[in-house]
Amino acid sequence: MPREQRAHPYMPNSVPALKQRLMAELGIDSVDELFEQIPQEHRLGRALDLPPALSSEAELGRHMRDLLAKNRSCEENLNFLGGGCWQHHVPAICDEIVQRSEFLTPVWGTPSSDLGRNQAWFEFTSQLGELLDLDLVALPVYSWGCAAGHAIRMAARLTGRNKVLLPRFMDPERRAVIINYCEPPEMDSHIEIVDIDADAATGQLDLDDLDAKLGEDVATVYFENPSYLGQIESHVAEISAAARKHGAETIVGVDPISLGVLSPPGSYGADIVVGSLQPLGIHMYCGGGLGGFIASRDDPRYAYEYPTLLISIAETTHGEHSFGLALMHQCSYGSREEGKDWTGNSTYLWAIGSAVYMSIMGPQGFREVGELILQRAHYAAGLLQAIDGINIEQASGFFKEFVVNFDGTGKSVATINKALLQRGIFGGLDLTRSFPQLGNSALYCVTELHTQHDLHFLAETLQEICAG
């Protein structure tokens, strides 16, 4: 058979004789007849102009590997970037489970034929609920930013108010997502965003500024713990009490990997809690590992505002445990534009990866990883603080990230990071454009993956660069 008539490996019916038989079954001479509904003048009328097909897996694999070889990964280099996507240890069995064909490839089945998948989802929500100390956890959304956006809109509907207080120092990526969710001023349902200052000495929320900006028109106070700049917020009870006094909801964004050592948000007055799944056993994938969660107390008032899918334990006709979707009528599948915001494909495979992660970690794993991160991050801050020209304003009280100021070195973060890169180090996230008020600063992230040796290598290299 001529090569151009070979059946394509992905298409079992691309055998020419088979296609002929299918056409014979329909009594047609050409497949083109089947497209009779499409007017000729709508047709492209020419073949697509694409590069030649690489239908050989050997050839395609080579092409792809050549492209991927142009990337330099955080495995081959020493990485201190975080900010909204973090390099943590991913247990091997997390990768094994999310690559299982049964979980990797399906869309929807019936409650019985999806039993295993649904149970894994329920184990995700159940275990995350334990970490957060909350009873209601939804199936995930796209990202932390999207979760925060939905939560703010939930609070606006709950209170009938249209103002949100946000911390001044927030991930610009996340804030840009939230701005869209809050709608422009021309829209009737616009939510006004007002910033709360940070206390200059501690990096925590400025409670006086919060008090000044809270009022009967505020739907919600949103803050993060740890904050974007890494600080652990300790006035959590005061913040949520102040919000409650004014009839506002408290939304807290958390990093779930911190919750083996930090207080769970359910214990300190958070009404709605959001955050990222990515630290829970998902690789960074250049930002493709993100997923967002939304949780709250199991109070119908909150439950009725969720835009997400909600998986509930359920009983079969024979009294067995199974799982089903609760409150489907309030999501966009059930009610189109009358539903709460919208839902659709999300990051459900990562819910399974995170379920595996939480199962393997257990309470002791979360405690150990949290303690290790705290100790190594503070050790790193101490090493860097000792370098001439470097200043760390808040040298304690953080979890895994801290701000390093290079004003005294006379060098820009960009220059320093280029020099670090030449030595195999991805320096901290450059904050100079997003937060000029912090001077020439970078956000450094230290995790359980950084050994003492790595941290000394960073410090020695920075010393050399800053002195040079």
Partner: protein, 518 residues
């Protein structure tokens, strides 16, 4: 039928697998972390003292304590109790197709898996080159001028359109006035839902005799309040609206934008392009049409493409080529910012790029041909089955890559519902078909989509199973209404999950509610 399928003696694995929370044994460990180095401990002291007293966790999270092999085996058991693509799944509109394992392996490599999105672009050249080149391929498939991959699903791409529509009209000072988005009842619910979440009023056009809303209905709907039209074509009944160009002209004349939801692209790829039909923007789902695994509902990508006129509003960062380097451009001043953080689900873009290269122009054209050929072949056989009819029986002719059927006749004759049939099909290793979006416009609807992946044998088997169940419905309907019989558990009981004391979205909520009921 072209083949004579024999019904398989399928039975799903039954593990009676407990919840992981029920498997805990105090003291078991699934993973260890090292203790901080001696010098580290000496320098910073104990971890507890590094946390402000008010913020120290006082009670351990009540997570399971499990050993590593037991966690692995638990989730393997759960995976085995998930039918999906292990059997035959023709879930309409989702375009079930092969997900090449080559790219699963490639994207698991550190050169994708362990990249941080804010690395120096010099260290992301491979990823940026793939994104840039895939944009070029989609431009050829659509005629659009620029694509971005940040939207994390088809609905997120629809939301992107709604945000860009706001920016477009705001730039002209008309946003407060142009606050309506028009769609049809046959458009995916994400179109009206995202537009409403973006702050727009929704105008929904109903279907008329031809199977789609009339040109006159559209004319009556547009005005100086029209911001945009969001529409799919063909729809998921397999009907193509031949007036679509006129639709676009009418909306443009009224000052609105036109968004082509290409959810149903598989049947028409290589045949038509959004640009030639006049659209300003379109969306492709990489997890459907472009061979990326669905993951049970993401991570996904709604690739959003638009004309150069709208491109100034696209969410950043935009990948550009500067000489032989790939760079991330600053956001344009009129960019909508972000609909999701960073560049999107980059690993899925890598997979879609590889799928498109594996198929080539001829492969893509052939996949479209086969998906339409197979749908019409299936239709011919399915309509022979007792109790099954086709939507809009008055509209003759071939459908595109899907056909909407009804089991209304079967239900009237036997009392067996479409959900009963779905539950019975899984007994033969055939996972659920898709029904229809809400609201149902035909009774007891179902919508299979063959695509290009399933063999004739698979499709014949699917048809044979449906035939078997129709026979059962007419001879012994209890077999169908009490199904499934070959699955790990029976169907859900009648108790609603919408009752606050009944629903339990976590195990801790379930235990609390169960004990309060006793």
């Amino acid at each position: 039928m072209m083949t004579k399928p024999k019904l398989r003696r399928y039975h799903a694995p039954v593990w009676d697998e407990p919840l992981v929370m029920e498997m805990s044994v105090s003291g078991r460990r699934g993973c260890h972390f090292p203790e901080a180095e001696v010098d580290v401990r000496h320098a910073v002291g104990g971890a507890r003292d590094l946390v402000p007293a008010a913020m120290r966790r006082r009670t351990e999270p009540n997570l399971p304590e499990m050993s590593e092999p037991d966690v692995l085996r638990h989730y393997l058991h759960l995976s085995q109790q998930t039918l999906g693509m292990m059997g035959i799944s023709l879930f309409g509109t989702c375009t079930m197709k092969y997900n090449p394992r080559l790219t699963e392996g490639l994207t698991a490599r550190p050169q994708i898996a362990d990249l941080h999105p804010q690395q120096d672009p010099d260290t992301l050249q491979g990823a940026l080159e793939i994104i840039y080149n895939f944009d070029q391929l989609l431009r050829e498939l659509s005629g659009m001028d620029q694509f971005v991959f940040q939207p994390a699903g088809g609905a997120d791409a629809a939301y992107t359109m709604a945000c860009i529509t706001r920016a477009f009209h705001a730039a002209r000072g008309e946003l407060a006035q142009r606050n309506q988005i028009i769609t049809s009842i046959q458009a995916h619910p994400c179109n009206p839902a995202t537009a409403a979440a973006a702050g727009f009023e929704i105008v929904t056009l109903m279907l008329e005799d031809g199977g789609f809303p009339s040109v006159d209905a559209l004319r009556a709907a547009v005005s100086d309040r029209t911001a945009a039209l969001m529409i799919n074509n063909p729809d998921d009944m397999g009907l193509y609206n031949p007036d679509i160009r006129q639709w676009v002209d009418i909306v443009h004349e009224a000052g609105g934008l036109c968004f082509y939801d290409h959810a149903n692209f598989n049947g028409v790829m290589s045949k038509i392009r959004a640009r030639e039909l006049g659209f300003d923007a379109c969306m492709f789902m990489l997890h459907k049409t472009f061979g990326v695994a669905k993951g049970g509902g993401g991570p996904a990508v709604g690739a959003f493409g638009c004309t150069s006129e709208l491109a100034v509003h696209l969410p950043g960062p935009i990948v550009e080529k500067d000489g032989d380097r790939y760079v991330l451009a600053d956001d344009s001043p009129s960019s909508i910012g972000r609909v999701r953080e960073y560049l999107g689900n980059v690993q899925q873009v890598v997979k879609a790029y590889a799928w498109t290269r594996a198929m080539g122009a001829e492969g893509i054209a052939e996949a479209s041909d086969i998906s339409v050929l197979l749908n019409n072949y299936m239709e011919k056989e399915i309509l022979k089955i007792r109790g099954v009819t086709r939507s809009h029986p008055d509209i003759e002719g071939w459908r595109i890559e899907m056909t909407r059927y009804s089991l209304g006749q079967l239900y009237e004759d036997t009392g067996v519902t479409v959900l009963d049939v779905q539950n019975r099909m899984v007994d033969f290793g055939v996972d659920a078909f898709w029904l229809s979006h809400e609201p149902w416009i035909v009774p007891q609807p179902f919508t299979p989509e063959a695509g290009e992946m399933w063999s004739v044998e698979d499709c014949d088997y699917w048809i044979a199973v449906l035939k078997q169940i129709s026979d059962e419905a007419y001879s012994d309907p209890a077999i169908v209404t009490s199904a499934p019989h070959n699955q790990p558990v029976h169907k859900l009981g009648p108790k609603s999950l919408d009752e606050p004391d009944r629903w339990a979205m976590t195990w801790r909520a379930y235990r609390r509610k169960r004990s309060s009921r006793k």
